[in-house]
Symmetry: C2
Subunit: 895 residues, 2 copies
């Protein structure tokens, strides 16, 4: 016996989504719930797969089952397909497991031919309706089933209207429509060398084949690749008796959501167009009515629809997106599916439904995707204002959406100016070819960052995300002229101090000021509630990366319960400190270096007091100096140009000598691959006096605060350890300093001493390293760089984005943790570390700490916490809860 390829709507149910697709199960559920659904049936996804397996032929028995199911439909509708007197018309729609743009959508009115057309006209007494239905069928059949570009049909239709001097389709007469249908049939003949099939079964067969074929259409395939949807799912085909909303003013068609998809408010939300078919709503022939206006004309039908909507929402326990048609006062439900919604609505609907008792709090938490709430916390542009700017020609260019948020400000082309203006209270957008650590003091005072070069993990992007600033990076259309203080962008010239607006979420750059909306967490009551529920479910702690007290305070406000990474080197880049830092680096003797360090000590102590106080009661992990020292010196290339100029000009021999000497020093220090050079713990091993100063500053700060009754928990972190001996060396030297300071001050401080795990070798030898580390923190940025052998400074602009686009890599590993490679090392490190020190505190402080997929992995390998930029703390809290709940309920990501 042949397999069952075809299910009547009443034979299916919601658990058969794999077989019947999304649309099919919705129709089945509604049918079985006794709701008014036109009779119909679904051809299974398995049939589609079998169709391809056996060389694009209908599977054995399928066509017979279609005909059988059709008889059932004919019986229930009291009409017959192809019957000249009482013709049954059909709609044929694709319906995969996941809704998929690019697949064949819908053919309406299937079953019309010369014969049945006359039957329809007689039956309805409406020849214009009949010819219009026929014209629509031929057009849709040509466009959708036969894949003839729609413009061929639209052009003819337009010519007809132009010829008659009318605007709307509805102004065309029966004869006009008749002629148009003939013309459409000619187009089919011309383009496909095919007569429009008079045989209605042939129509049906071809439509079903076309739905199947559309599964492997280019756009559908691309979409699946892009969305990581499996190619072996196949699509179902839904065949349903037509009902008509265009049978007069007691008829109509509409779409509605059971709640407001923009705000989440519990009101029926949608549109209704009297005397129209679904496609007319899309075509915008007339302005549709609000759904609530339906009760003014057809109160009973409206009440019935309200009840149906409620019933479906209760049934599915989620907000529904409904399609319906009213034919001569009778309601027909054509589709129900989970409604798409904005982030704001997602949060409100989830929290409301939990409060209504419709779903559990766990479900509510799982209903909101972590990345959705990202946008709820960054400033964003007012949508309408942005559209207006667009239409006013103020759009300048599009770059990489490197750090979300909207920013408006005056252009500054250098960091010093940005800092000056920013401190003076002017809103600033720092615009640079690219940024480097020298620019951080300016970035700190800016509202947003725009760069010409660099990818989503360039310096600009990383720092901006850390600071919660909007950033558009790699905007290659910019032509920046630093000397003139202006830039050219697609024909516009922007001068220093001109206003521009950046949308960091989309990468768009606009001229002028677009009004922004700045959401606050505490004002978003439902979000606060949802996150508090999430906190109850998660096992992972959520900490933040923060270098400054203001970031730490922001992180606390967003719910962080610790600082997982406080970078100490940014502190050295501030204008007044950099010269001392350079003095230290260029010192020829240990004594002169110590003198400079003595000047830096009170500054660092002040920094640490600030951040430890802001995080009173919580741990603060302070990472000792990490970047190569030459990053604090003027760039080699700049000096080279300067010295060459001085040499050729020959007008200032004294300056030439001075600059030449500096060039020589920088030249000795520069490295072929600074990422793998003299940095991290290697600095402390070679120049212990630097890290000793830093540890003294930390402990002195902690003691000062303790004496003021502030509860401090500093943790000292050594970066870039590759061999246990590096950590041993530093720990011995630095703990001597701790001891000495404690003795000087007569006070003890409780602190931890630990290391970053950011090199493969550290992960591979974690058991040994754990002997000297009380905590581990994964630096997954560097760990990804070394595990892949990819420099993040170079890769994104040079090849990484192409790799992702071409699916060589499934995702950008700097955004989403590579579980197989980097993750495997992390797992080894957790196991190795805890084998030596079972209570080892292990966390992550790389960029990945705020990425939901990565957070899930951190949960799975039993980290204690994730640490991310302050603005991503809520995302991480939710993602951590998702991970725990998915584990609890054994939910796998399903695509």
């Amino acid at each position: 016996m042949a397999e069952k390829w075809v299910y009547l709507f009443n034979e299916g149910n919601r658990d058969m989504r794999d077989t019947l697709g999304g649309k099919g199960t919705g129709l089945a559920e509604m049918t079985n719930a006794g709701l008014p659904v036109p009779p119909g049936f679904t051809i299974t996804t398995e049939a589609c797969n079998e169709f391809f397996r056996i060389g694009k032929k209908f599977p054995e028995g399928m066509w017979e089952q279609v005909q059988q199911a059709l008889q059932e439909v004919e019986q229930r509708s009291g009409k017959r397909l192809g019957d000249a007197q009482n013709p049954l018309l059909l709609s044929v729609r694709s319906g995969a497991k996941f809704s998929m743009p690019g697949m064949m959508d819908t053919v309406l009115n299937l079953g019309l031919n010369q014969e049945t057309l006359h039957g329809l006209i007689e039956q309805t007494g409406n020849s214009r309706f009949g010819y219009d239905a026929y014209r629509r069928l031929v057009q849709m059949f040509g466009k959708i089933v036969l894949d003839i570009p729609g413009e061929h049909f639209e052009k003819d239709l337009q010519q007809a209207k132009d010829h008659k001097g009318v605007q709307a389709d509805t102004d065309l007469t029966t004869n006009d429509l008749k002629a148009i249908a003939d013309q459409f049939k000619q187009i089919i003949k011309q383009k496909r060398n095919l007569e429009f099939p008079e045989d209605v079964f042939e129509q049906l067969r071809m439509a079903i084949e076309a739905v199947f074929d559309s599964w492997w259409g280019k756009r559908a395939t691309d979409y699946r690749n892009n969305q990581k949807i499996s190619h072996d799912l196949g699509t179902a085909v839904n065949v349903m008796a037509m009902v008509f909303g265009n049978m007069g003013f007691d008829s109509g068609t509409g779409v509605a959501f059971t709640r407001d998809p923009a705000t989440g408010e519990k009101v029926l939300y949608g549109e209704y167009l009297p005397n129209a078919q679904g496609e007319d709503v899309v075509a915008g022939i007339r302005t549709p009515l609000k759904i609530s206006q339906l009760q003014d004309t057809q109160e009973q039908v409206y009440q019935q629809f309200v009840e149906v909507a409620n019933q479906l929402e209760r049934h599915y326990r989620d907000m529904q997106d409904l399609e319906f048609t009213i034919e001569h006062g009778k309601l027909w439900m054509l589709q129900t599916r989970t409604g798409k919604r904005t982030a704001q609505a997602a949060v409100k609907v989830a929290v409301d439904m939990a409060n209504e008792g419709l779903i559990s709090r766990e479900e509510a938490v799982l209903r909101v995707e972590p990345k959705q709430i990202d946008q709820l916390l960054h400033p964003r542009f007012d949508d309408k204002a942005k559209q207006a700017a667009q239409s006013e020609g103020k759009f300048l260019a599009k770059g990489l959406n490197a750090s979300p948020g909207a920013a408006v400000g005056q252009v500054a082309f250098n960091a010093n100016l940005a800092e000056k203006w920013g401190k003076g209270g002017r809103p600033v957008i720092l615009v640079r070819p690219e940024t480097n650590p020298d620019d951080v003091h300016g970035m700190l005072q800016a509202k947003g960052i725009l760069t010409q070069h660099g990818g989503a993990t360039s310096h600009a992007a990383v720092v901006a995300r850390g600071l919660g600033l909007a950033c558009v990076a790699g905007c290659e259309a910019l032509r920046i002229n630093l000397e003139e203080g202006e830039m050219h962008v697609n024909g516009h010239v922007i001068h220093e101090a001109d206003y521009i607006s950046l949308d960091g979420a989309t990468g768009e750059v606009f001229l002028g000021q677009i009004p922004t909306v700045v959401p606050k967490l505490e004002e978003q009551q439902e979000l606060v509630t949802l996150l508090s529920w999430a906190d109850g479910f998660r096992r992972l702690g959520v900490w933040a990366n923060a270098d400054y007290p203001r970031d730490a305070r922001q992180a606390r406000a967003f719910g962080a319960t610790g600082i997982g990474l406080c970078r100490t080197e940014h502190m050295f880049f501030e204008i007044e400190r950099l010269p001392i830092m350079r003095e230290m680096i260029l010192a020829e003797t240990k004594e002169t270096r110590q003198k400079a360090l003595d000047k830096l000590l009170p500054i660092q102590r002040g920094d640490f007091e600030g951040i430890l106080e802001a995080m009173a009661g919580y741990p603060v992990i302070i990472r000792l100096i990490d970047p190569p020292l030459h990053e604090f010196l003027p760039p080699y290339e700049d000096l080279l140009v300067e010295v060459t100029e001085l040499r050729v000009r020959g007008d200032n021999p004294a300056l030439l000598v001075e600059k030449g000497a500096l060039l020589q020093k920088v030249s000795v220090m520069r490295e072929a691959n600074p990422m793998l050079g003299l940095r991290g713990c290697r600095l402390g091993v070679l120049f212990p006096e630097i890290t000793e100063m830093q540890v003294r500053a930390i402990i002195e700060a902690a003691i000062n605060l303790k004496q003021r009754q502030v509860d401090v928990h500093p943790e000292i972190m050594i970066p870039l350890v590759g061999h246990v001996n590096e950590l041993k060396d530093q720990r011995e030297k630095l703990e001597a300093v701790v001891k000495q300071v404690q003795e000087e001050r007569g006070t003890e401080i409780s602190y931890k001493f630990g290391t970053m795990i950011e090199l493969p070798r550290a992960a591979l030898t974690a058991d040994e390293i754990a002997r000297y580390a009380e905590f581990f923190s994964f630096g997954t940025n560097d760990l990804t760089q070394t595990t892949f052998g990819i420099s993040r400074d170079d890769a994104e602009s040079k090849f990484l984005l192409q790799y992702v686009e071409r699916k060589i890599l499934p995702a950008n590993p700097f955004q989403q943790l590579d579980r197989q490679g980097v993750g495997q090392l992390m797992k080894m490190a957790v196991e190795g570390g805890r084998a030596t020190r079972p209570e080892m505190e292990v966390g992550i402080c790389g960029e990945h700490g705020g990425d939901p997929s990565s957070v899930e992995f951190c949960h799975q390998i039993n980290l204690n916490y994730v640490s991310c930029s302050p603005f991503r703390v809520p995302v991480a809290r939710l993602a951590a809860a998702h991970a725990a709940l998915r584990e609890k309920f054994d939910i796998r990501r399903d695509k």
Copy 2:
């Protein structure tokens, strides 16, 4: 009962080396063999360790056991320690398991005081002998036991001689010596506030304590650290009755080897000094006689000694280093130990002994350390000529010994000149601040390379080792002035074309021409034999890294049975090819790039024909292009200076535009961390036309040769794979090319397709990668870089050598494979790869392939072969045999 701390010589045996030390077991063995050894005893290493454990006190019972053993010695010698009439004198010598410079050596004549001195004089009837013995005791006791710098004593002795106007100690009279002994006692009093002990037991006690103490002396501790000898071994103390070689011309002392330690020839080799004590031989008072001359005066004794020597060699089954003394015609053996020997001797002795049936062939192979034979194959300086150069003030400076071998040639400061001269037949030394791939064409024609910057794995070093050229790198004393064409080195000025000589094995640089010796493998019959035995024992294949036919031929001559790495990019750097390469790189369109590639195709095909033919019958692994393309362009910094000069001068606007455009292009291509940038397989993924050209060249070359009946086995290798999809992409594209060429030519070629494993992620996901790779080759240079996060271009000059010196790292991981980190990844990769593809061919082509310790590890993790530079092939063959034999006999490295 107290532990046994003291063993009479007849109580020990050779298996007690841990307890009795090397010297002690030698004396025990000789005693038990019935050889004439003065009576004595050994205090154990355990006693030494216990001495320190309990706070520098003699262990319980030890002193009593010493006294007891002493009685035995007194009985056997018929003398008594401290006896005024018939005094026993003793020698006290340290003796650890491994001979260790820096430890207390020997105190002779212990037991003399005012009283016993007169006894000795009476007994011998020789007062000068008595006072001389006494003077020597006080001097040695002061210097060695009391640690008073020897120069204090030597100064007084010299003054005495000056005062008398004599040259030699022997010219001093009894009275002189008496006075000197008194002065020496004064020195002890002054420097140590101590009377020279009259109590002979006190002398013995102090001498034993001093031996113990010397275990933790600074030089001994440093030496152990340096040689990786464990600190908990402790030293033994040997106490032996004195015998005197200075009792007249029927007495004497000597040292001898059972074979010639320089050549390995089977002749007794050594020196003998009549009427002298051992120290006189060292002091060089008189010219010693050859050992064979002994038979002229004391034939019987000589014959006895020859027998003893033979007996000992047979007993120990190895060449022995003997010390002996003849006292009044009686032979006394004082020491036997395994004799140190030159590499040449080591090989000859091992092969001879195996042929003599004294040892097995396995033992013979194990007797020669692989690294010893390295020097046998590189050209080297004639030792005497080098000493002469040194004494003539021709030593210039010392750099890193980057690639062994001696080289003499004329200085060229740039690669083009070096190439020109080299091709013209002039011997050239290329001298550069540092080298880069641009210089390879010059290096190819040079005899040696000298650089100012860069470590032992800098470009210069790596290429030089690959080419078997001598290289001294990082010679920071050089002050090179490229524009003037000269360099200043420690006060010398060297101009272009001046001759210099480099010793790559020591890092020394000399002015002028030092004669060299160039050994040939085939002329070293014993080495050829030893290696052929080794080949029979090893499991690992030994292949070579070779980029040129001449290297391949050299590799074959040295016994390589495959090419594990043929780098294709060096071929592009040759003078006539570089412009085409640049044309290709700078191409704006695919078409212009293809045009350049079309020009490169026949050139590459020719290269491959050459190397495949040279290796006929063996596999040749050809690695597709690896370095970042910008390495083929002029350096950014050079262009920057050029453009700046042109800009400031303003005298050549056309050239400025041209150079400015090139600068712009190079600027776009340059990378922050080129090591982690757009290179390796990433190039082929992005620009498939490049690797497609290379594969076409390989297959066309192979077919051309096959048609000429040459047996070819090309293997195509993709570098820097991090994700299986990269390999999949390249394999699909490149196998299409193979297929196409085969079709065009109507011939099939058998070939393999594989990948390098040189990134941690590749090792971690080797199971996946193996789906598309028929072979793996470990690129341990890059794998070490990424696993450690260390750039080899930067690390050695910046911090790595300091790390090794300070024991942060046990060894330079670029020289000796880091088994724990990098090795762990390799092990995972072998297991992963073979899980997918059990017959997977796995090898190593990093620098480590020629390092004996690394070869051993490769054997342990079951690689199929190691591949190293041609000159290291013999080393690797021997190292591979060692690894197999050590595994077979379960021998561990013992230190």
